[in-house]
Structure formats: structure tokens, C-alpha cells
């Protein structure tokens, strides 16, 4: 098995999904002729044709809604919303239809829809193209939120998402697209958090694009790193388990600090592991500013390895 990139893993996953199940099709802006904004779907149009790799007009609300309808109609659509920034235009369909439909109908209609989107900052794309809102989506009952941070997950989570009878939102991290790693091609679950590095002094809880930063920080502080992987429903067991050992934690999250996913992790720790704590849990999040263009300002706005190290060390002060 040789190393491939996160981007290649995503493409492989799409290719396999289209290959395996006739009901699967991919639709979104520029997934076809353009080859995908991030070149993730490059070559798939040629292989599967324009019915199954379907370019859409700029109509996020419309084609996400159409994806829901197609799922209800027996297909297994993978809808790509280019980035989370534009998904705000489709939010009504995601929240008010996809997420609610099964419950509202008394369990009659499941929506086996997969929505993929890129998320995160770090490439100087400025305020309107740098949101990290996956934590926001994690507030909504009825949908599952996954955040592949490794090449293995980038390859495996799509298949698992397609097997889920309910809507799954897959957040992909352009910041990780060049990362290389092994992708076994085996099944991965979309239910559990995972320890990515063992350590004994402090638990670093993170997900997505911040994972490499947390891993680096862990080297310096003997950290145990937990990759949440699935943001809804949250699997806190490894976090609580780790806290029994470390008694201290830092939550690292690229969302804005107030009301980000980190807050939920802290609330759960409060509820489930309060008596394990030797110090209050700290968080390293994005500063509460729209992400600025200038490189040094963007860096200052986002979580960084040094900030994580400092926060971890602060727990011992």
C-alpha cells in the first residue's frame, strides 16, 4: 500500500461509489467539465457521463433541495456544495427539509442524502471564503456531520455516509488536500472519535484541519490527541477516557470561539468528567473576527500550534 494524497483519497472514494452503486450520482457546481474546484472530481465526468456527474447552475438552494428529492425518489445523490460559505444559501433545505423530514412524517421518509463541502481558512481567501461552520451544522438533530482529517477517513467516510439512511454532511479540508497518507480502502465507521496520538500530560481534542496542528503541539507537551471525526452525534467516550489519565484538556477548533463546537465539547466534559479535572478545560479557537486577507492577520486569527502549546502549558500554571 502506497501513500496517496487526501485529495486523491476523496476522488477514489467518489469513483468507487459511482462504480459500485447505480443509484449514486454526483451533482454540484463545476463538478464535471471544470473537474471540481479543488480537482477532486477530475476525470469522473469522462468516466461516468454527464447524467451521473452533473454540473449544476449556481443555485445552491435549488440543487440541494433537488438532491433531497432525488434521495426520496430512490437515488443516492452526493451533492457537492463547493464550500461551506455558499451552503448558507442552501441552509433552509438542509435544516428545514433534510433534517426534519423523517421525524415530521412520523418516520415514513428517510433522506439518504450526502452533502459534501469544503470548509476552513488558511489560504488567504478572506472573510466570505473562510468560514468554519461545521460546528454550527452539528447543532441540528436529524443529520450526521463528519469531518475526515486523515487520508484513511477521506477515502472511507464517503462510503459510510452513503450507507447511512439519513442525511450526512461531509466536511472536507482544503488545508489537508496535499497531506499524504495510507488509505487502506477498508470500511471506516462514522460513529466514533479516535485517539490519534497517545500522551499522558494533557488531552488535546480536535477535528478536521486542526488535527496536524494539534499533533505538532502534542509533541511538545506530551499530549494525547483525540480526533472527534464525527461532529454529530459526538462520541465523548475517548475524551472522557483520556481525561481519567491526563486530568487536563485543551479543545482546538477552527470555528469562532463563542458558540463553536469547542464550547459543546467543554460542556460535555463539564457534564461527564467534571470530577476528573485538575484545571478548567481551555480552548484554542479562531478569534472572533471575520477572517482577514493579509497573511499575518489570517495567521493571527486562526488556531496555531504555538497557541495550542501555550494553552496546554497554561493548564499547569
Amino acid at each position: 500500500m502506497s501513500a496517496i494524497s487526501y485529495r486523491e483519497a476523496l476522488r477514489l472514494a467518489l469513483d468507487e461509489a459511482l462504480e459500485k452503486d447505480e443509484r449514486v450520482f454526483l451533482m454540484g457546481e463545476d463538478v464535471g467539465r471544470y473537474g471540481g474546484t479543488y480537482a477532486v472530481s477530475k476525470g469522473l465526468l469522462e468516466k461516468y457521463g454527464s447524467e451521473r456527474v452533473r454540473d449544476t447552475p449556481l443555485s445552491e438552494l435549488g440543487f440541494v433541495g433537488a438532491g433531497i428529492g432525488a434521495a426520496l425518489g430512490g437515488m443516492r445523490p452526493i451533492v457537492e456544495v463547493m464550500t461551506v460559505n455558499f451552503s448558507l444559501l442552501a441552509l433552509d433545505q438542509i435544516v428545514n427539509t433534510a433534517a426534519l423530514l423523517r421525524h415530521m412524517s412520523g418516520g415514513q421518509f428517510s433522506v439518504p442524502l450526502v452533502v459534501r463541502m469544503a470548509t476552513g481558512a488558511g489560504r488567504q481567501l478572506a472573510a466570505q471564503h473562510s468560514h468554519s461552520l461545521e460546528g454550527w451544522y452539528a447543532h441540528i438533530p436529524g443529520i450526521r456531520i463528519v469531518a475526515p482529517a486523515t487520508v484513511e477517513d477521506a477515502r472511507g467516510m464517503l462510503g459510510a455516509a452513503l450507507a447511512d439512511p439519513d442525511p450526512v454532511l461531509v466536511f472536507e479540508y482544503p488545508a489537508l488536500f496535499e497531506t499524504k497518507g495510507e488509505a487502506s480502502g477498508g470500511k471506516v465507521d462514522i460513529a466514533s472519535s479516535k485517539v490519534r496520538r497517545e500522551g499522558s500530560r494533557v488531552t488535546l481534542v480536535t477535528y478536521g484541519g486542526c488535527l496536524p496542528k494539534a499533533m505538532q503541539a502534542a509533541e511538545q507537551v506530551d499530549g494525547e490527541v483525540i480526533d472527534l471525526r464525527v461532529l454529530r452525534p459526538l462520541d465523548m467516550a475517548p475524551v472522557v477516557g483520556s481525561l481519567k489519565k491526563t486530568r487536563r484538556a485543551v479543545v482546538v477548533d477552527e470555528g469562532w470561539r463563542s458558540g463553536g463546537l469547542a464550547a459543546e465539547v467543554m460542556a460535555r466534559i463539564m457534564e461527564q468528567a467534571f470530577y476528573e479535572l485538575d484545571a478548567p478545560v481551555a480552548r484554542v479557537c479562531s478569534e472572533e473576527v471575520p477572517v482577514p486577507y493579509a497573511k499575518h492577520l489570517e495567521e493571527a486569527a486562526l488556531p496555531q500550534t504555538e497557541k495550542i502549546v501555550a494553552a496546554a502549558q497554561g493548564l499547569f500554571a
Binding site: 447552475p57 440543487f63 433541495g65 433537488a66 428529492g69 426520496l72 425518489g73 415530521m104 412520523g106
Partner: protein, 330 residues
């Protein structure tokens, strides 16, 4: 706005069909009159949007559709659900919030659903059903199924971005979907001419290159024929937009003080009422007797009584099962 003359002239339909359409309208009318009463008694709660006055649209359209077709509707969908074959018992139980309801009591008036009838709701977001219908049609097309999708919505939805995006997708991809616009001239208190710069809705739809049809929505025979043509067009050629010109006789919902229109207008439209004008025409041409009418009416009333009894006898889902059906059990 000038109110057109009441529908008139010979009804060119087989007698059995005419009587069936009349019975359909009566069933909706009697059911909803009862709902209003039950609302007054506090048995039904939440929002309740009555279709009274507009029955000809659901009646005429529904009988033009095939059993395999998909239906998407709005929060004003009691009539559509009923005529699509959701039993009045289950509709009434739903409004009571009982587990025997067609959505297990979770949906209420605005969210009637029925998988067996391919009735996809019951959507309380104005315009929310339009993209969904496009997607259902896309699935049918990809699966090479012969079903079409019929999407009912009010003229208020035409101003929403969802309308625009859906019309374009439907026509661009030649999806087998019929957009049935129930133009009752008001979106809550907002008259069409205060919400659309172009009030000819067919002209709007035509700007997407879509085929359009228009019919008097107070004339069940006209609705039926037009819906048949629409279905034929969709099944063979592509999407279609149909404007049914209608009017609601009641308030928007049970909370509406109706400040925005005057009684005279409502009375004038009542002259065009789908039930009495259609009955009168059938009688005039000898297709209906008063006795037969009363029989149909009594049958409808009996169905209502039975539905209420069913709903009253329904059971409450235990609160412990609250979280059921948020996601699909594995």
C-alpha cells in the same frame, strides 16, 4: 380587481366522473368545516390553513394523476392528502396529534405525509417543496420510471428564490414535473399585485422556456381537463407550469383578522364557489338531482363523523418515545 363571472356552460365530462369530482369537493369541504369547528373547541391546535373555496383545484388535478405519481404540497394540503387517498381518519387523527395520524401526530395540519400514496407532504416553508419536486422528478427520470411529480404551491411562492431556481433546473434538465400554482390572489395579506412586478404568472414561467397552461380554478371540469393536458405534456415532453385561478373564502389561518380585503370581494368570489356552481351546472344538464347531491353530502358528512370518532379514540404516543424517528433505526 374585477371578479370574473361564475363558471358556467355545459360540463363536458362523463357523469360518473362529474359526480366523483363533486363528491371529492364535498369531502374536503365537510372535513374542513369540521376542522374549523374543532379548532374552536381546542381539539386541533397550531396553525390551520383551510382550503375552503379552492377545492376544485385539488379535486380536478388529483384525478388527472396516476397512482405512481408523486405529490408535493404545502401547509394548505388537507384536501390534497385526502383526495390522494390518505384516509380522512388518519388526517383527522393527525390534526388531533394522535399516533394513528398519517404522520404519527408529529406533523399536524401542516405536515401530512403518506408513503403509500407517494404523498411527500405537507411543507410549511413557502417555496420549500419546489426544489424537492424537481429532485423527485430527477430521480424518476434517472430511473427511467414513468411517474411524474406534481407540485402544488401558492402564488406567494413565486417571489421566492426557490421558485426561480427550481423552474430553471426543471426546464434545463427537462424533468417530469408539473408545477401546479394555486393562485388565490393573496399570500396571507399580500395581494399578488403588491408582490409581483409581473402578475401574469404564466408569463413568468414562460421566461424559463417552460410550457404553461392556465385554468379557472373554480371550475373543477376546467381544472381536470387542464391537469390532464399537463400530465400528458409532462409524461411525453417535459415540465409544465399551470396557473389555477382560485380564491380562498376563509382567513389565511385561524389567526388572520382579514384586514386586507373587503367582505364584498369575498362575497363576489363566493358567487363563483366551486361546489354550488358545479352542482348547478350538473343539475341544469340533468346529470345531478338534489337527492343525489344530498346523498353525496350525507356520505361526506358520515365520513367526517367517522373520522372524528377515529381521532377521538386515537392514542397518545408515550413521551418516552419522543426521540423516535429523528434518525432511521438501524
Amino acid at each position: 380587481m374585477k371578479v370574473p363571472p361564475p363558471p358556467s356552460g355545459k360540463v363536458e365530462l362523463p357523469v360518473a366522473l362529474s359526480l366523483a369530482l363533486l363528491a371529492d369537493m364535498l369531502r374536503i369541504r365537510r372535513m374542513e368545516e369540521k376542522c374549523a369547528e374543532l379548532y374552536g373547541e381546542g381539539k386541533i391546535r397550531g396553525f390551520l390553513h383551510l382550503y375552503i373555496g379552492e377545492e376544485a383545484v385539488a379535486a380536478g388535478a388529483m384525478r388527472a394523476l396516476a397512482p405512481e405519481d408523486n405529490i408535493v404540497a404545502t401547509y394548505r394540503e388537507h384536501g390534497h392528502a385526502l383526495l390522494r387517498g390518505v384516509s380522512m381518519d388518519r388526517i383527522m387523527a393527525e390534526m388531533y396529534g394522535k399516533r394513528e395520524g398519517c404522520s404519527g401526530g408529529r406533523g399536524g395540519s401542516m405536515h401530512l405525509f403518506d408513503a403509500a400514496a407517494r404523498f411527500y407532504g405537507g411543507n410549511a416553508i413557502v417555496g420549500g417543496g419546489l426544489p424537492l419536486a424537481a429532485g423527485l422528478a430527477l430521480a424518476a427520470k434517472l430511473k427511467k420510471e414513468s411517474r411524474i411529480t406534481a407540485c402544488f404551491f401558492g402564488e406567494g411562492a413565486v417571489a421566492e428564490g426557490a421558485f426561480h431556481e427550481s423552474m430553471n433546473l426543471a426546464q434545463l434538465w427537462r424533468l417530469p414535473v408539473a408545477y401546479f400554482c394555486e393562485n388565490n390572489l393573496y399570500a396571507m395579506g399580500t395581494a399578488l399585485e403588491r408582490s409581483e412586478s409581473q402578475t401574469d404568472l404564466c408569463a413568468k414561467a414562460a421566461s424559463y422556456g417552460m410550457a404553461t397552461l392556465k385554468a379557472d380554478g373554480m371550475d373543477v371540469a376546467a381544472v381536470h381537463k387542464t391537469a390532464q393536458r399537463a400530465r400528458e405534456h409532462v409524461a411525453t415532453k417535459g415540465p409544465v407550469f399551470v396557473e389555477f385561478q382560485t380564491y380562498r373564502f376563509r382567513a389565511h389561518s385561524m389567526f388572520d383578522p382579514e384586514l386586507y380585503r373587503d367582505k364584498g370581494e369575498v362575497e363576489a368570489w363566493k358567487e363563483r364557489g366551486p361546489l354550488h356552481t358545479f352542482s348547478a351546472r350538473l343539475k341544469a344538464q340533468g346529470d345531478l338531482t338534489e337527492g343525489r347531491f344530498l346523498e353525496l353530502d350525507r356520505a361526506a358528512q358520515a365520513e367526517v363523523d367517522k373520522a372524528v370518532a377515529f381521532a377521538e379514540a386515537g392514542t397518545r404516543e408515550p413521551a418516552e418515545d419522543l426521540a423516535k424517528d429523528v434518525t432511521t433505526p438501524s
